[in-house]
């Protein structure tokens, strides 16, 4: 592990306390809702926010007592914060200059990095003349120019429009793959986190609620927030074999286990019927339509009943079933598509 940190920041009405590790070459994403403490954690790693407790070590050396300018870090800010009075080249050369390189050497490093992010032609441009995507790449080049051991990215794609975001996301992924140090990035967008990170750390209210590989987090959410992010219906109950008791409802799951358990299924796996279907090996319950909204090409139906659930159905199905708020329906999901895992 190159980065090991316990970050404790106490403020009136807010407390952050998380433990964070990142290996060389690993990209860790801090994912969480607004105000969860993600950016505070990142600023604490950078030395811009003081720690109330805990420690930060990088390659075995303690970092937490060093001022921001003495830490071997590179940081990309949410709105980039490129110095408006300097050209793209001088923005990138700023770090090497501060760390003792001669003007010529710093500019050489900067030119190389701009070349690498595909902006050699814009070296002389002021930040005001760059597009959002270009500014993002200059900000990345500027952070990499100091040869950091730890790269910090604060919502690196949040300031971009949807189209640019797609392009910059894949470029960023490539650059992060080529970076040898540890990377910690902060995002509230699950897609950014899934695409960019090797490991996700989900933070809510200043504490870690779940961590794991993107695939694991996507398949086995452990909080309502994560379930909503990855688009799954999630319940907590008690398992006995294949049966999981959620409230009054008994669900049959694909996996067998015993004790406290989570049950999750996709809204697309949930089928709706006007009357009770016969003889199918499904988890079935009676529900009431609570609301209907558009969701991509489909329609998302909010269901009330013994358990609250989302169902994704086609617009045609909405018409066939004559769905409207208040209408009673039967909801069913196959046991093979109902997944249980220990809570």
């Amino acid at each position: 592990m190159t980065l090991r940190a316990r970050l404790v920041v106490d403020r009136p009405a807010f407390a952050l306390d998380i433990t964070l590790e990142a290996a060389a070459g690993e990209v860790v994403a801090l994912l969480g809702p607004n105000g969860a403490g993600k950016t505070t954690a990142l600023r604490a790693l950078a030395g811009l926010t003081g720690l109330s407790g805990g420690h930060i070590t990088l390659d075995g050396r303690p970092l937490h007592h060093l001022a921001a300018e003495q830490r071997p870090i590179g940081m990309v800010f949410q709105d980039y914060l490129l110095f408006p009075h300097l050209s793209a080249l001088d923005n990138v050369a700023f770090g090497p200059r501060c760390r003792g390189a001669s003007k010529a050497a710093a500019r050489r490093v900067a030119a190389e990095l701009l070349e690498r992010v595909g902006l050699a032609a814009h070296a002389a441009a002021r930040p005001g003349a760059l597009s959002g995507g270009q500014a993002q790449r200059v900000a990345l080049a500027r952070a990499l120019a100091v040869r950091p051991r730890l790269l910090l990215l604060d919502e690196p794609l949040a300031a971009l429009d949807a189209h640019t975001r797609l392009e910059v996301r894949s470029q960023l992924r490539r650059h992060l793959a080529g970076f040898g140090g540890a990377t910690v990035l902060v995002t509230h967008d699950p897609l950014d986190a899934m695409v960019l990170a090797d490991r996700l750390v989900v933070i809510e209210d200043g504490a870690i609620v779940q961590e794991g590989s993107p695939a694991d987090v996507a398949r086995r959410p452990r909080t309502a927030y994560v379930a909503r992010l990855v688009g799954l219906n999630l319940y907590q109950g008690r398992a006995e074999g294949h049966r999981v008791k959620v409230g009054e409802l008994l669900l049959t799951a694909a996996e067998r286990l015993d004790g406290p358990a989570f049950v999750a299924f996709s809204p697309a796996a949930l089928a709706l019927y006007r009357s009770r279907p016969d003889g199918s090996p499904r988890n079935l319950w009676q529900a009431t339509v609570d609301g209907i909204e558009r969701h991509g090409d489909n329609v998302r139906v909010h269901l009330d009943g013994p358990i609250a659930a989302f169902a994704d159905v086609t617009p045609a199905a909405v018409a066939d079933l004559d769905l409207s708020p208040g209408r009673p329906v039967w909801a069913g999901v196959k046991a093979a598509e109902t997944h249980a895992y220990p809570a």
Binding site: G47, L48, E69, I73, F83, F94, G95, C98, A143, V146
Partner: protein
């Protein structure tokens, strides 16, 4: 305002006519500010202007005024910008009090400022005595004394303007510079200073204009010796008693210099 209705197609903002309760005082205020200057122009002895301007006393006073105002502005920049930075960026106990103290010379009658300077830096003053015995330096009634009097009165303009610019500047740029390894001095020099440069220039212009017009503190602390401490405002005041036409000429020169310099700086720096 034209009484006839506007031609078809020209859109008028739908906010209605400016109310006369605002327009009348505004026009009166403008007249109040501009008419005295116009009076100066009307009463100027244009025929004898060239020879009056060439008088050595006029040129001397003008030179002295420009030099002392510029040196005083330089002194204010050297001391005032760091002071503004301290007030805007470093939190220390008593910061509010210090900020209030900085603005005292703004509201203090300049003559009182001059008396205060005499009490401290005069030959019998606390610091003045020491300066004289240790370095053989006397400040009152010297050109250096003029610079000190002007700087004392003008510095608050600079400090307030620069502090405002510093508070308005996004401090996160400074954080970004710190993550790139810049020490606080480097951050100040390479990031903060360029970002607030328009504020510094505006403050320096105000400061210079105030120094150029300084009268009360100068005449109290530095006296009125032609060629040494007699700046333009002093020369104007003196001439008014003996030779009013000369006073008008001197005033015109002062007015022209101020307008020319402010206008040229405004084009270059103050407007975006």
């Amino acid at each position: 305002m034209t009484p006839s209705s506007p031609p078809r197609g020209t859109a008028r903002p739908a906010v209605g006519r400016p109310p006369w309760v605002l327009v009348v005082p505004a026009v009166l205020g403008l007249a109040f500010l501009v008419l005295p200057l116009a009076g100066l122009l009307v009463r100027a002895p244009w025929a004898t202007l060239p020879e009056r301007l060439a008088e050595p006393q006029v040129l001397e006073a003008l030179r002295l005024s420009l030099v002392t105002a510029t040196v005083a502005t330089a002194v204010c920049l050297l001391l005032g910008v760091p002071l503004a930075w301290l007030l805007a960026r470093v939190s220390f106990p008593g910061r509010r009090l210090v900020r209030a103290l900085v603005t005292v010379p703004l509201v203090l009658p300049p003559v009182v400022g001059g008396v205060a300077l005499l009490l401290v830096l005069g030959r019998r003053g606390v610091a003045g005595q020491w300066l004289e015995s240790a370095f053989g330096v006397t400040l009152p009634f010297t050109t250096a004394g003029v610079v000190i009097a002007e700087a004392f009165v003008a510095m608050p303009f600079l400090v307030i303007s620069v502090e405002g610019a510093l508070r308005g500047a996004d401090q996160r740029f400074e954080e970004a510079a710190a993550t790139l390894g810049a020490s606080r001095w480097t951050v100040f020099r390479r990031v903060t200073l360029p970002l607030v440069m328009p504020g510094i220039v505006a403050g320096a212009v105000l400061c210079w204009a105030r120094a150029l017009g300084e009268f009360g503190a100068t005449i109290t602390f530095a006296g009125n010796f032609p060629g040494r401490t007699q700046t333009m405002p002093l020369a104007v005041y003196l001439a008014l008693e003996t030779e009013p036409e000369a006073a008008i000429v001197l005033s015109l020169v002062l007015l022209a210099v101020s307008v020319i310099i402010l206008a040229s700086l405004r084009d270059r720096w103050v407007s975006p």
